[in-house]
């Protein structure tokens, strides 16, 4: 019997643990990742030559990062690992990849998508100025290149990453000019019941906040950001504080974000069904084991934001599901253990949603002149115009008429906010305006790339 061909996309926490589960069952998957090294977003490794200790790079998560990297290194001899390789399409039972100008079609028996997440962005006047970064972008600069995005950086938005990245930038020696959180202190109290489900993680979050206080960093909660200011680059941030007073803080960089959104394009091309999560995101439907479509599985933040620990568990669970579906014996006890730990994390995540609610009303109230889709330079007003005067009630229809989400990133950045703007303009629910449909390539593909 020739061995089943199993392909994993993503070598983050989910992908590494999926590979490990397969290898433990005597299977040898192909692992594809567009990054030059394994680790995923959270445990991203610096390029060769940037030797900095794990403690500095990963903070509290250093031990976990090292464990994941070590686990992957141990698996390497049993894997066909392909770094620097973009998976750009799923079609005809095959994954299509591109590396250094060469396209390959990889037929698979099983495919596990561990594609992770990206920043959830809500535009603001001035958000496209040089010096404005997403929280993830600021962190990547720090992890991959060891540099802070500015000398004086204002952090705004909400979610755990807001505090984590602010802390990391401060620890790297740059000034955090302020942390401006759209969520209110009382949201955290309401969330307490969920957060105690994973007390160590909750304590880490509390430490980042305490660290802000100790460093005497200006910290406001319950704010509403109004604009990133500056002529040719970022010079400050204007916001309204919880008392309704408008304020400005000078800075030379901003980092902002409102939590994460899953990377679901490959799942969609693989035939996933999607369900609305009630809070602005459409998530691919998977069963508890990660089954997404015939012979296709998914795990980790790509199925819904649950964090790195949950991603490791889900990856393992999906790996075991593939092994079981290929006729290997998987002890039920092992599955039960994974499920117990996952449900604790789910309770914690539900708590985070309460603690850092996404300010969905923010996009809906943006001024008309605000750039919504930076790839195409399309404004909030342009979208409202087609909504109101061209009867576009669905997001793909609106995109066709005003180019929002039609550019290089295909709406990965602006899609979330665009749906909020459209729904508000039409006076309907966000769910009712639908979801930007994905098409290949999931990221830009060189026209010069060739099949061998």
């Amino acid at each position: 019997m020739s061995e089943a061909r199993i392909v994993i996309v993503g070598a983050g926490p989910a992908g590494v643990r999926a590979a490990e589960a397969l290898v433990n069952h005597g299977l040898a998957p192909i692992v594809i990742d567009e990054a030059p090294a394994a680790g995923g977003q959270i445990y991203r490794r610096p390029p060769a030559g940037f030797a900095r200790p794990a403690r500095v790079l990963y903070g509290f998560e250093a031990a976990k990062a090292q464990r994941l990297h070590a686990a992957f290194e141990a698996l390497r001899p049993r894997l066909d690992y392909r770094p620097d390789t973009l998976a750009w399409n799923v079609s005809e039972g095959s994954l299509w990849t591109q590396r250094s100008g060469t396209i390959e079609r990889i037929p698979f028996d099983r495919l596990i998508l561990c594609t992770g997440a990206m920043d959830r962005v809500i535009p603001l006047p001035g958000w496209t100025l040089p010096g404005a970064f997403t929280l993830g972008g600021a962190q990547v600069a720090l992890k991959a290149q060891g540099c802070a995005v500015g000398r004086r950086t204002v952090f705004f938005g909400t979610g755990p990453l807001l505090y984590l990245v602010a802390h990391q930038i401060a620890a790297a020696g740059a000034t955090v000019a302020a942390v401006l959180d759209t969520s209110r202190a009382r949201d955290s109290w309401h969330a307490l019941a969920g957060l105690v489900a994973v007390p160590t993680t909750a304590l880490k979050g509390a430490w980042y906040q305490l660290d802000l206080v100790l460093r005497r960093t200006p910290w406001h909660r319950g704010i509403r950001p109004l604009a990133v200011m500056g002529r040719d680059r970022v010079e400050g941030v204007r916001f309204r504080d919880a008392n309704g007073t408008e304020r400005e803080i000078a800075c030379d960089a901003v980092a902002f974000g409102y939590g994460l959104k899953p990377e679901t394009q490959l799942a969609e091309l693989a035939g996933a069904a999607f369900a609305y999560d009630g809070a602005g995101l459409w998530l691919p439907r998977v069963d508890p084991a990660g089954r997404l479509a015939p012979n296709v599985y998914a795990a980790g933040d790509g199925c819904g934001i649950l964090g790195a620990d949950a991603a490791e568990l889900a990856g393992r669970r999906a790996g075991l599901a593939v092994a079981a579906d290929l006729g290997r014996t998987v002890p039920p006890r092992e599955i039960a253990g994974i499920e117990r730990r996952r449900s604790a994390i789910r309770a914690f995540r539900a708590g985070l949603e309460v603690a850092f609610p996404t300010p969905t009303e923010l996009a809906a109230t943006l001024p008309d002149a605000t750039i919504l889709c930076r790839c195409e330079g399309a404004t909030v007003g342009a979208l409202r115009t087609v909504a109101n005067h061209k009867d576009a009630g669905e997001i793909n229809q609106a995109k066709a008429l005003c180019r929002v989400g039609m550019g290089r990133c295909q709406g990965r950045v602006c899609g979330f906010a665009a749906c909020q703007v459209l729904a508000a303009a039409r006076g309907v629910s966000v769910e009712a305006v639908g979801r930007l449909r994905a098409q290949a390539p999931v990221k830009p593909l060189p026209l010069a790339a060739r099949l061998p």
């Binding site: 399409n89 079609s91 005809e92 299509w96 396209i103 079609r105 195409e376 061209k390 009867d391 669905e394 229809q397 066709a400 008429l401 039609m406 550019g407 290089r408 295909q410 098409q439 290949a440 390539p441 830009p444 593909l445 060189p446 026209l447 010069a448 790339a449 060739r450 099949l451």
Partner: protein, 371 residues
């Protein structure tokens, strides 16, 4: 929606052909209900390449294409916006002497019908279009052809038709068709019933089903032409490009994105789904780079396809039914009905209101498939 509505004309299909028919009928004061199973202009009419060309067409289509051409200049008057129509010219390339001979023959025949084409040799071609490689040996140039934005054309015709009084219903799929002495009775899957004196079949790739309800089987099948768009780059490619044999068609929009097509994906009219085959994308990309070398620096940002009805003889069916008085067809545009869409609506309105049209539509008679 449920209930029964009475109207003069019921139109099945809200693509460019159906919407233009609705507009031109409504302008004559004729009452119209148009049923569209999805959204207006979202099928072939909304996702096509956007070429508005006359050259290269089957000679039988030339008179219609010529008559329809001025409508594109008058889009603002007709539907309230220019639909990004630009008369950039259309350049049809030859890759070898046999291709060039085919262009010469075509230029002579089309010229006799009133379409003037200029034949250009290799050196002159590269002088005028210096971004072309050495591969083309010559070309045929049609200065009055051009391009428009398909995504906005169908919806614009739809809005104009509504403004003129037509009743366009989205999300209404015509499912049952009856005809009695007085006229037609159409019912949709959601339970809406329409009674009408005349019925128009502009159901695109699905039109064979409608015709089948009236015992008028036609040799139509579905095709899925594949499209590619790149990231923007400086705007240097003015005209729309085609190539003898049709393996590639390409244009650059003013924003700088290069759009091109070639090859066929998979089309399924049962699910209204079409699928791009990645291999075609890569191969047509390679051909584009061979003809225009600087494209090799660009990235593809999206591919797509759509569902189009193609007739066995690759020209459409336009005209009255041969089995059913009061039924009119316009479908099977075989990959080139975008430019014709507006004028086809005019012709349908003429056939229904005047009982005749000045356009020579005999070659498109549905009767040609009988016997």
């Amino acid at each position: 929606m449920t209930g029964t509505m009475a109207t003069d004309v019921c139109i099945i299909g809200g693509g460019i052909a159906g919407c233009s028919a609705a507009l031109h009928l409504a302008k004559r004061g004729i009452s119209v209900v148009l049923l569209e199973k999805g959204r207006i202009g979202a099928q072939a009419s909304g996702v096509n390449f956007g070429g508005v060309r006359r050259q290269g067409r089957h000679l039988a289509e030339i008179p219609l294409a010529l008559r329809g051409r001025p409508m594109w200049d008058r889009m603002v008057d007709l539907v309230g916006e220019d639909c990004e129509f630009r008369a950039t010219g259309h350049l049809r390339l030859a890759r070898d002497p046999a291709d060039m001979a085919a262009l010469e023959t075509y230029a002579r025949d089309a010229g006799a019908l009133g379409l003037d084409l200029e034949l250009i040799g290799g050196n002159e071609l590269r002088r005028r279009f210096p971004w072309l490689s050495e591969v083309p040996v010559g070309a045929s140039w049609c200065p009055g052809d051009g391009q428009a934005n398909p995504r906005v054309v169908g919806p614009a015709f739809g809005r104009a038709a509504r403004a003129a009084g037509a009743d366009l219903r989205e999300g209404e799929e015509a499912a049952t068709f009856e005809r009695d002495g007085k006229g037609f009775r159409i019912a949709t899957t959601s339970g809406l019933a329409i009674t009408s004196r005349a019925l128009v079949n502009t159901a695109g790739a699905w039109a064979g089903r409608v015709a089948g309800h009236f015992d008028e089987p036609v040799p139509i099948h579905s095709i899925a032409p594949q499209m590619v768009v790149t990231e923007p780059s400086p705007h240097v490619i003015g005209p729309v490009l085609g190539i003898v044999g049709g393996a590639l068609y390409l244009r650059q929009i003013e924003r700088g994105n290069v759009i091109f097509g070639g090859g066929d994906g998979l089309a399924d009219i049962a699910t209204t789904r079409s699928t791009v085959l990645p291999r075609n994308t890569v191969e047509v990309g390679a051909l584009a780079c061979r003809l225009i070398p600087h494209l090799a620096r660009l990235n593809v940002i999206r591919v797509w396809t759509g569902i189009e009805g193609e007739m066995a003889d690759v020209i459409p069916v336009i005209g009255p039914s041969r089995t059913t008085p009061g039924l009119f067809h316009a479908f099977g545009f075989s990959g080139h009905g975008f430019q014709l869409g507006p004028i086809v609506g005019v012709i349908l309105a003429e056939l229904i209101a005047d009982g005749t049209t000045p356009s020579p539509i005999a070659p498109f008679d549905i009767g040609r498939f009988v016997g």
